[in-house]
C-alpha cells in the first residue's frame, strides 16, 4: 500500500484522444498492459517492459525504465515526454509518481502542481497528491482522493487511498466501508482486499479470507502482508508487524520497501544484526531510501555508544557523555520503573532499554515513518529512544519528564499487548509527567489556547485523528494536551482504578467508544460535554485574556529594556496571572524578577523566581540565579532542591554542578557532593584542579578517604601550588 505507485495500475484501459492511448492513471496503453501482468504476478511482466524499451513512444520507454529500476533513464525519458507534450498533465503526473517511488517528494510535488495547473481536476494527479499526503500522514489525503473520485467516479486507486487513511485514523468501520466500495468498483482491488484482511488481523483473527482472495488474483502478492505490517507498526504492535513483513518477503522477495521497513523495525526492537542484514541487502540491491541509508548510518554509529545493564534496565549512552549522564539517567530510570510497577500493578517481562542520542538527527532516524510522535522520545515496545539533554538548547525541555513519559508507554503498551489507541497511551504518558511532579510536563500552550477558544478540541471518539492525520503540526500538540487532560479528568472524577480498567479494556481490543461507555457509563458525546465543562474553569482566564496578554507582554519587554521597573511590575503582575503557564522566553516572571532586582528587593525577586520554578520554568540561568539567591539567604537546602530540579532539565551546566556540589559540601551530604563533582569533572571543566579538589572534599564527607587522596593528588597534579588542596593532602596523609 505504501508503494501503491508501482502497484495500483488499473486493469481497465480507457483510451483518450492524446497522440498515444492512455490508461486511466495516465500511463501509455502499452505500458499499462505490462503493468497488468506485473499486478497479476505474471513472470512475463519483465519481458513485456524490456520489449517496451524499444518503443518509439518516450512515455512508454520511461514507464519501462522505471519498472525495471532504471530511474535515471526513466527520468530522462519522462523529461523528453513532457517536452513533447507540454499541455498534457499525464506525463507530468506519471513522472511525479516515479519521483514518489524514488523518495523525491519535493520534485513530485512540483510536477503535480504543474499537472493540476494544466487541468484542475485531473484525477491521476489528485490521486498522486492523495498518496503523497497519505504517506506523510497529512490531513488532506482524503480530500484529494474524494476530489479525484468526483472527477472520475471509477478511479479505483482513489477509493483505496480513502480506505487506507481511515484505517490509519484508527477507524476500521469507515476503512472497511471504503475498501468494500473499492471491491464494488473492481473485484481486482488488491488494496481493498489488503485493507479488509488487515482489519481482520488487527482484530486478532488468526486468518482472513481477504488475503486468499488477493492471492488468488496474484499468488505473489506479498504487498497484502506488507500493508498489514504497516498497520501493525503504526499501532505499535512491532513484533507482529515484523512477522507480517517476513511473510510479505516470503511471497515476494523483491519487495524492497517491505525489507527496508523490516530492517528498521528489527532495529527498533534491538535485533541489530538481523536488521543490518536486511538493510544492507536493500542498499546493495539499489534500494537506498532515506530510511535505509539513515538506519545503516545509525547502526554504524553504535560503536560510539556504551551500554550499562542491570537486571531490569539497559541504558545505552554515547561515549562522550556517558560518565556525565549515567548516574542521573539510571536513577530516574530505576525510580520510574519502581513507581510504575506499583502503580500499574504490572511486572514487565524483560529489561527495558533506553537509548540516549546527543545528536538529534540520530534520534530522528528512530522516528522515521512514525507519525505523530513527539520529537523528544519514542517507544518501541521495550525499547525507548530519546534525545540527550545535550541534543537541544539548554532549558528547551525536561529530559526526566520525557523519560517518564516514554516509560509509561512501555507499561501501557505491554499491558494492552499493544492494542491501545494513540490518544489514550499518549494521554496517559502526558498525565504521568505532571502526576510525577506538578512542575514537569508541558504547560498550556498558545496552540491549545487557540483550540479551546475556537472550540477545536476533537471529540474523544475521534481524538486519534489529531495524532495520525493532524490538520497541522499544532494539532498534534493540542491532541497531546487534550489526551493528557482527559486522563487527568478521569483520574480526578472516577479515580486511578478506572484508568487501569480502561487499559485492560483496550487490551481486550475494545474501541474507545465501548471503553468509555463501559467504564464511565457515558456516551462519548456526554463525556465530551463533561470534559469541556471540567476544563473550562481551569483555562478560562487564560483563554479569555490571551489576545490582550500577547499584545501586552511585548510592551513589558520594551519597558524592561527602558528600565521602567515600576511599570514592569504594575503591568507584569497582571499579565503573569492571566497566563501563569507561560514560562518560555520573554515570560512575565523573568521581567518581574529583573525589576525587583533592579529595585533591590531581593525577597520579591526570589519569590518571583520560585514561582517561575514551581510552575515549570526551565531556563537554567534563571534557576541558577534563584539558587544563588536562596544560598545567600541561608536557604541552602532550597537552593540544592532548585539545582536538583535543574539537573532533570539540563545536565551540561558546569557552574550548576559546581554550585550544587559546594552546597552539598556545606550541607554535609557526601554522596550528593560526590555525584555533583563527578559530573563537573565529566564535563571537562576549565578549572580541573578545583573540580578534583571538590570531589576530594566530597569523598572525605562520604568517608572514602582513599578516593579522596587520589582526587586531591589529581588536583595538585594540575595545580601543585593549590593551597587548600595541599592542606587536605597533608590532613589525609596524616591519617595514613
Amino acid at each position: 500500500m505504501k508503494h501503491a505507485a508501482t502497484l495500483g495500475f488499473l486493469a481497465i484501459i480507457a483510451f483518450t484522444p492524446f497522440a498515444h492511448a492512455q490508461a486511466q492513471d495516465g500511463q501509455p496503453a502499452e505500458s499499462a498492459a505490462c503493468a497488468l501482468l506485473k499486478r497479476k504476478g505474471d513472470a512475463g511482466a519483465t519481458a513485456c517492459y524490456e520489449k517496451l524499451l524499444r518503443s518509439n513512444n518516450p512515455a512508454a520507454v520511461a514507464e519501462a525504465m522505471w519498472a525495471l529500476g532504471n530511474f535515471r533513464g526513466a527520468n530522462d525519458a519522462f523529461r523528453a515526454t513532457v517536452k513533447l507534450r507540454e499541455k498534457d498533465p499525464a506525463p507530468r503526473t506519471r513522472w511525479a509518481r516515479m519521483y514518489l517511488d524514488h523518495w523525491q517528494r519535493a520534485d513530485a510535488a512540483d510536477l503535480l502542481k504543474e499537472a493540476l495547473e494544466l487541468k484542475e481536476n485531473y484525477a491521476p494527479a489528485l490521486v498522486a497528491m492523495a498518496i503523497m499526503s497519505s504517506e506523510n500522514y497529512e490531513a488532506d489525503a482524503i480530500k484529494f482522493a474524494e476530489k479525484a473520485l468526483a472527477a472520475d467516479p471509477k478511479y479505483l486507486e482513489a477509493q483505496e487511498v480513502i480506505a487506507q487513511v481511515h484505517l490509519e485514523d484508527n477507524n476500521p468501520e469507515k476503512a472497511a466501508e471504503a475498501a468494500k466500495k473499492a471491491l464494488q468498483m473492481s473485484e481486482e482491488s488488491l488494496d481493498g482486499y489488503a485493507i479488509l484482511g488487515t482489519i481482520d488481523l488487527l482484530n486478532d483473527k488468526k486468518d482472513t479470507p481477504w488475503f486468499d482472495r488477493a492471492l488468488k488474483y496474484n499468488p505473489k502478492y506479498g504487498e497484502a502482508y506488507a500493508t498489514a505490517a504497516h498497520f501493525f507498526i503504526i499501532n505499535r504492535r512491532y513484533e507482529e508487524g515484523i512477522e507480517l513483513y517476513k511473510k510479505a518477503l516470503a511471497l515476494d522477495p523483491s519487495l524492497n520497501h517491505a525489507r527496508s521497513d523490516l530492517g528498521v523495525n528489527l532495529m527498533r526492537l534491538g535485533q541489530e544484526d538481523e536488521a543490518r542484514k536486511h538493510l544492507e541487502q536493500c542498499y546493495s540491491g539499489g534500494y537506498q531510501s532515506p530510511e535505509t541509508v539513515n538506519s545503516l548510518r545509525l547502526l554504524d554509529s553504535y560503536k560510539d555508544y556504551v551500554t550499562f545493564k542491570t537486571p531490569t534496565t539497559v541504558l545505552r549512552l554515547h561515549k562522550k557523555e556517558a560518565t556525565l549522564l549515567r548516574p542521573y539517567f539510571q536513577s530516574e530510570f530505576d525510580r520510574a520503573l519502581a513507581t510504575y510497577e506499583k502503580k500499574y500493578k504490572f511486572k514487565l517481562q524483560k529489561p527495558v532499554q533506553i537509548e540516549v542520542y546527543p545528536n538529534h538527527e540520530d534520534f530522528a532516524v528512530r522516528t522515521v515513518s512514525m507519525p505523530g510522535l513527539g520529537a523528544l522520545g519514542v517507544t518501541f515496545g521495550y525499547m525507548v529512544a530519546m534525545d540527550s539533554p545535550s541534543g537541544r538548547k539548554p532549558g528547551a525541555w525536561h529530559w526526566a519528564s520525557t523519560m517518564w513519559h516514554e516509560l509509561s508507554h512501555v507499561y501501557v503498551l505491554e499491558m494492552t499487548n499493544h492494542r491501545v489507541p494513540r490518544w489514550f497511551t499518549e494521554g496517559m504518558a502526558v498525565y504521568e509527567e505532571t502526576a510525577t511532579s506538578p512542575d514537569w510536563g508541558d504547560r498550556l500552550d498558545p496552540g491549545s489556547i487557540a483550540a479551546i477558544k475556537g472550540k477545536k478540541l476533537l471529540p474523544i471518539a475521534e481524538l486519534d485523528r489529531g495524532f495520525i492525520h493532524p490538520t497541522g503540526p499544532e494539532q498534534v500538540t493540542v491532541s497531546y494536551f487534550q489526551g493528557g487532560k482527559i486522563c487527568n479528568f478521569i483520574a480526578e472524577k472516577w479515580g486511578w482504578e478506572k484508568l487501569l480498567a480502561m487499559i485492560h479494556d483496550f487490551g481486550a481490543n475494545m474501541t474507545t467508544v465501548a471503553v468509555i461507555e463501559k467504564e464511565l457509563q457515558l456516551k462519548p458525546e456526554e463525556f465530551d460535554k463533561q470534559f469541556l465543562a471540567w476544563l473550562e474553569p481551569q483555562t478560562k482566564k487564560t483563554v479569555d485574556g490571551f489576545d490582550d496578554w500577547r499584545k501586552s507582554i511585548r510592551g513589558v519587554a520594551t519597558l524592561a529594556k527602558e528600565t521602567k521597573w515600576d511599570e514592569v511590575i504594575s503591568i507584569g503582575l497582571g499579565l503573569r496571572d492571566v497566563y501563569p503557564d507561560y514560562v518560555e522566553a520573554g515570560n512575565a516572571y523573568e521581567f518581574l524578577a529583573q525589576a525587583y532586582k533592579a529595585k533591590g528587593d531581593t525577597a520579591k525577586q526570589t519569590a518571583e523566581l520560585e514561582r517561575y520554578s514551581k510552575i515549570g520554568g526551565r531556563d537554567p540561568e534563571l534557576l541558577k540565579q534563584l539558587a544563588v539567591l536562596q544560598t545567600e539567604q541561608g536557604r541552602k537546602k532550597d537552593a540544592a532542591s532548585t539545582l536538583e530540579r535543574l539537573n532533570l532539565i539540563y545536565l551540561e551546566d558546569e557552574p550548576a554542578h559546581q554550585q550544587l556540589g559546594n552546597l552539598y559540601l556545606d550541607l554535609k551530604e557526601g554522596p550528593g557532593a560526590v555525584r555533583e563533582f563527578q559530573a563537573l569533572l565529566a564535563g571537562k571543566p576549565v578549572d580541573v584542579a578545583g573540580a578534583h579538589y571538590g570531589l576530594a572534599q566530597a569523598f572525605v564527607l562520604a568517608m572514602r578517604n582513599d578516593d579522596a587522596r587520589e582526587e586531591v593528588v589529581s588536583a595538585l597534579e594540575a595545580a601543585p601550588g593549590f593551597k587548600p588542596a595541599q592542606k587536605l593532602l597533608l590532613e589525609l596523609s596524616g591519617k595514613e
Binding site: L716, E717, A718
Partner: protein, 319 residues
C-alpha cells in the same frame, strides 16, 4: 629577563628551565600598563555592551599592584587618543614591564586589511603594529573584536602575545569571546594552576572553552574561533601546546593577581624555603615529563610523595 610572574606546567622539558627562572624572578616585580579601548557600537545595545565591558575591566584591575590602567571609550576612543596613550606607554615603560592592550568592539576587514571601528578614522592593524613597535616592554594584545583574526600578521612579533576573537577577517559577527575573556578575570576557575595569578594563557583557555561551549549549547554554527599566537610567526592556534610551540610567553604573562603570592616572595627570611619549594616544583615538573615512561602506580606514588613535600614546604612558608 622575561615577564615576572608564575608559570603553568604543561609544556615540554625544554621550557622548564626558562619557566623556573621566571618563577625565581618574582622578587623583582615590574610594572604593567593597561589600555582598554571600547570601540564604536553602532547601535545603542552594542554601545552599552562595549562600554560596560570596558568598565568591568577597569573595575577588575582597580586593585592590581604596580599597574597603570587607561580606558578609552565613547567619543574618547579615537585614533589620536589611542596613539597618545600607547606613545605614553612607550615613553614610560621599561623592557621588563608589561603592556596589555584590550580592544573591545567591532572590527572589519576588506582587501586592504583589518580595521578596528572607532569614532572618526578607524585604526588599522598596521597602525596598531607601528604604535606597539615603539614600546620597549613585553606586549599582549587582546583583540576581542569581530574580524580580529585579520590583524594577526600585522602585529605579531616574537614573544609578543596576540589573542584574537576570530580566526580570520571573514568572521564578522559580533563576538561572545569578549564576554568570556572578561569573565575569566572575575572567575577564580580561570586560575587553572591556582597560583593566584591569571595569565593571558589561562584567560584565553577559559574564554575559548566557554565560547566553544556557547555555540555548542545553543546549537548554532560557530561564527568565531578564538586564536592565540606568541611566537611571532605562523598562524595562531586554538589550543597552545608544546607540540605547536605556542603558549610559552602567554603562560608567563600575568593579566591579574588575585592573591598575595608576590608579597611572600619579597620576604628575605623565606628565601631558603622558596628555593626548596622551587626545587620540589622542578622535580614535579620533571616527573610529569617522565610520566609516559612510568607505570601509573609508580607515577602516582612518586607524585604524591613530592606533592606532600611541596605542601609541607608551603605550610612552612605560610607560617
Amino acid at each position: 629577563m622575561g615577564p615576572t610572574q608564575e608559570v603553568g606546567c604543561d609544556l615540554r622539558r625544554a621550557f622548564l628551565t626558562a619557566l623556573l627562572l621566571a618563577s625565581v624572578a618574582v622578587a623583582g616585580r615590574a610594572d604593567t600598563f593597561y589600555l582598554t579601548v571600547a570601540g564604536l557600537g553602532g547601535e545603542q545595545e552594542y554601545e552599552q555592551r562595549f562600554t560596560g565591558w570596558a568598565k568591568e575591566i577597569e573595575q577588575v584591575l582597580k586593585n592590581e599592584p604596580n599597574a597603570k590602567h587607561e580606558v578609552l571609550m565613547g567619543p574618547q576612543a579615537t585614533k589620536a587618543n589611542i596613539q597618545a596613550k600607547l606613545a605614553d606607554f612607550a615613553k614610560n615603560s621599561k623592557a621588563d614591564d608589561n603592556v596589555i592592550l584590550f580592544l573591545i568592539g567591532h572590527g572589519s576587514f576588506d582587501e586592504v586589511g583589518y580595521k578596528f571601528n572607532i569614532p572618526g578614522l578607524d585604526v588599522t592593524a598596521n597602525d596598531l603594529g607601528a604604535m606597539l613597535d615603539k614600546i620597549p616592554a613585553h606586549i599582549a594584545v587582546i583583540n576581542m573584536s569581530s574580524a580580529s583574526g585579520a590583524m594577526l600578521s600585522a602585529v605579531q612579533k616574537p614573544k609578543r602575545v596576540v589573542v584574537t576573537a576570530t580566526k580570520s577577517g571573514t568572521e564578522k559577527n559580533a563576538t561572545v569571546f569578549s564576554r568570556y575573556f572578561i569573565e575569566a578575570l572575575r572567575d577564580p576557575a580561570a586560575d587553572g594552576d591556582k597560583n593566584e595569578i591569571i595569565t593571558v594563557l589561562e584567560a584565553f583557555r577559559y574564554a575559548e572553552a566557554k565560547t566553544t561551549k556557547f555555540y555548542e549549547e545553543n546549537k548554532r554554527i560557530a561564527t568565531e574561533h578564538p586564536l592565540i599566537e606568541d611566537t611571532g610567526k605562523g598562524e595562531g592556534v586554538k589550543a597552545p601546546t608544546a607540540e605547536n610551540g605556542q603558549g610559552l610567553a602567554a603562560q608567563r604573562f600575568a593579566v591579574l593577581h588575585t592573591g598575595s603570592a608576590a608579597a611572600v616572595a619579597k620576604d628575605p627570611q623565606k628565601q631558603a624555603l622558596l628555593k626548596q619549594k622551587e626545587e620540589v616544583e622542578a622535580k614535579i615538573d620533571d616527573l610529569k615529563y617522565r610520566k609516559a615512561a612510568l607505570s601509573l602506580q609508580e607515577y602516582r606514588q612518586q607524585l604524591q610523595k613530592l606533592l606532600v613535600d611541596l605542601a609541607k614546604t608551603q605550610e612552612a612558608l605560610d607560617k
